[in-house]
Symmetry: C2
Subunit: 357 residues, 2 copies
C-alpha cells in the first residue's frame, strides 16, 4: 500500500480517513483492523457489484480474522426504500450482527446511501466502512455522512447524518464501469472545478493522467466543506448544491431512471451557469468553457424533448422556500468560486431553463 494516499476528514467528534489507490480492495481487512473495528462484518452490496467484488472483499476481511456475512439487494434506485432497509435490518439480526459489529458498504451511491442509513438506525447506530465503486461515490457521495432512502413523495426525504469509520476508494474498481456511469461521475468533478478549484477544469480539458490523483483532489475539496459544516447548518455545505436545485427537479420530472443523477446535475449546472452569467457576473466565456467540459464527458446539454418547464419550476417551488418571490440559489461569480445568492427570482430560473430547452 506504499503508493497509496489518505485524506483526513477532520471532524472533531469523529475524524476519519479516506484511503485512495489502486488495488485497495485486497487491503480492506487490514484497514478495518487499523480502524479499531472488530467483531462480525456485514457486507451490503447489490447484485451487479456482488458478482464483481464481493469475493475479493470477503477474502480480505477473512484474512484478518473477521467473520463475514453478506446481504445483496437489487441494483438500482428502487433499493433505496424503508422497506428494503427493514428487510436488511431483519437479515442483519438473523446473522447475529449487533452493536459490536460493523457494516461494509460495497457499491455506488445507492448502496452507500442505503447501507449508511441502515448503519445509522440499526441498534441506534453501528460503524460503517464505505468501499465506493463508482466515480460519483468515490469523489462525492461516500464522503460526509449524508445517508438517505426515498419516499414515494420524493427522493432522499428520509435519512440520517452518520459518518463512516473509514472510506476505502479502490480506483481499480472503476475499470468495470459502463461508459455512461463513468461519465456521470464527472458531473460532480466539474462542479468542484466551478465552485472551488478551476485547475480541476484544466485537468479535465487536458485529459486525466491519474485517477487516484483526481479522486484525492476531489475528496480533499469535499472533506473541506464537510468539516466546515457537518450538518449543513451554516450554509457553507449548501454551496455543494451548485446545479442541484434545478438538477434534482429535472431528475424528478424526467422520471427516475430516465436520466442518471449526474446527467440531471449536468443540465442543472448549465442552467446555473446561465443564472450566474446573468446575475452574478460570471463571464460568458467561462460558462462556455464549462459547457465544453460537460460535453467532453458526453453529458447532456439539452433537456429531453418531452419535459415540461412548468413541471420543473413547480417541483422547485415545492422543495425550496421562496421569500417575497426570491429563492436562495448557488451561483458562481467566477470559475473556482461560489456564493449563495438570495435574490434569484422565478424569471431567472425560467430563462435558465429556456437555455437548455
Amino acid at each position: 500500500m506504499g503508493a497509496n494516499r489518505t485524506v483526513s476528514v477532520d471532524l472533531k467528534a469523529h475524524p476519519y480517513k479516506v484511503h485512495i489507490g489502486e488495488g485497495l480492495l485486497a487491503h480492506v481487512g487490514e484497514i478495518a483492523r487499523e480502524s479499531s473495528l472488530a467483531g462480525l462484518a456485514a457486507i451490503l452490496t447489490d447484485e451487479h457489484v456482488a458478482k464483481l467484488y464481493s469475493e475479493p472483499l470477503r477474502r480480505s476481511l477473512e484474512q484478518e480474522g473477521f467473520v463475514v456475512s453478506s446481504q445483496v439487494v437489487e441494483s438500482g434506485e428502487s433499493s433505496k426504500s424503508l422497506a428494503v432497509a427493514e428487510r436488511v435490518c431483519e437479515a442483519l439480526a438473523q446473522s447475529g450482527i449487533n452493536r459490536r459489529s460493523f457494516i461494509v458498504a460495497l457499491g455506488g451511491g445507492v448502496i452507500g446511501d442505503l447501507a449508511g442509513f441502515v448503519a445509522a438506525i440499526y441498534y441506534r447506530g453501528i460503524p460503517v466502512i464505505h468501499v465506493p465503486t463508482t466515480v460519483m461515490a468515490q469523489v462525492d457521495s461516500s464522503i460526509g455522512g449524508k445517508t438517505a432512502v426515498n419516499l414515494r413523495a420524493g427522493k432522499n426525504l428520509v435519512g440520517a447524518f452518520h459518518q463512516p469509520r473509514v472510506i476505502i476508494a479502490d480506483t481499480d474498481t472503476l475499470k468495470t464501469l459502463g461508459r455512461r456511469e463513468w461519465n456521470e461521475g464527472f458531473a460532480e468533478v466539474i462542479k468542484y472545478g466551478v465552485i472551488r478549484d478551476a485547475s480541476l477544469l484544466s485537468q479535465l480539458e487536458q485529459g486525466i493522467t491519474s485517477m487516484p490523483d483526481l479522486v484525492e483532489h476531489c475528496v480533499k475539496i469535499k472533506a473541506s466543506y464537510v468539516v466546515e459544516d457537518e450538518f449543513e447548518t451554516t450554509g457553507n455545505r449548501a454551496l455543494l448544491n451548485f446545479g442541484h436545485t434545478l438538477g434534482h427537479a429535472i431528475e424528478a420530472v424526467a422520471g427516475y431512471g430516465k436520466l442518471l443523477h449526474g446527467e440531471a446535475i449536468a443540465l442543472g449546472m448549465i442552467a446555473a451557469l446561465d443564472v450566474s452569467v446573468r446575475r452574478a457576473g460570471l463571464s460568458a466565456e467561462e460558462a462556455k468553457r464549462v459547457k465544453a467540459v460537460i460535453e467532453r464527458y458526453e453529458l447532456p446539454n439539452r433537456l429531453p424533448g418531452e419535459i415540461s418547464l412548468a413541471a420543473i419550476l413547480s417541483t422547485v417551488f415545492a422543495d425550496k422556500k421562496f421569500v417575497d418571490g426570491r429563492i436562495r440559489f448557488v451561483v458562481s461569480p467566477q470559475l473556482g468560486k461560489a456564493v449563495l445568492a438570495d435574490d434569484i427570482v422565478q424569471a431567472d430560473l425560467e430563462l435558465a431553463l429556456d437555455s437548455i430547452r
Copy 2:
C-alpha cells in the same frame, strides 16, 4: 403557568427544558413559540389518546398561529414498526411538512418512540416536542432522546438518538389512565429510588401528595444520567438499566402484550435485587422494602406460570455479551446506589429467576 416548574436537560449541543404541571396542554402553543418553533405543526398520536387530547392540543397550537395537521396510528406496540414509520413519513410529506416544520408527539411510550424516530429520520431530522400522557413517558421515556421501532427479530432494534426541542408533561392527562397503566409507570419511579435516591421509596411508601412534584423529582434524576452520558457510551447511563436486562427478556418470552413493560421491569427488578443481595452486599431488609413498594403498586412479583426460565436465559445470552461466562449487570449495593458489576455469572441469574418463580 405560575405554579408550574421546569427542569433543564443541559446537553451542550442541544439543551432543552421539561415543563411539568397541571393544565399545560392548553399552553403547548405558547411553549412551542418560546422554543423558537415555527411553521407547520404535525401532531402524531394514537387512536386512544386522540379522542381525549388531540382537540385541546390542536386549539392550543392554532391559538398561537401554527397550522396544524394530525396523524393518528393504532394504539399499541404494533405501531412501533418501520412500516408504520414509512406510512407516517409519506403522510407528513403529503401534508407539506418539511425541515422548517415540527412534530408533536402526543401519547405514551409507543408514540414517543415512534414520533421521535420519525422526527430523527424525516429530512434527516426535524424538531420534535414530546407531550407525554402516561406516568412512564413523563418520568422516563420522553427524556433523553432515545427513539426506536421494533423488528420481528426484537424490540427497539432500530432507532436513533434525537433529542426533543422541549417536553411538556401535563400531569392532568394522567387522570384518564387505567389502573394497570397508572401502576405500570411506577416501576420506573421505584427504579430511581433503588439506583439513585431512596427518599423516592419513602414517598411511595407514605403515599404521593403531588404528582407534579414526583414527576419533577424523577425528571431531574433521568436528566442527570442523560447529561452525563448522552449516547450511552461511558456506562453511566447504563445504570438506568437496573432490572431491565432480565425484564426485557421476561417481556419478550412472555410474549409482547401479555405483561406491560413496567410489569416485566418490576419482575426484572425483583430478580436484580436478589442478585444484589447475593453478590453486591444489599441487605435482605432493603430488598424486602423495595418488594413491598412493588406490591403496593399491584405490580407482579411472580413470573406467569407458563414461562420458561431456560427461554429467559437464552434471550439474555442472545442480547448480552458474556466474557468468560460473566456478564455486565447492574446491581444495587445499598438503596439509592447502583453499580455495573462485571462478574455476574449464569448461576446468579438462575437463582434470581428462581426467586420469582
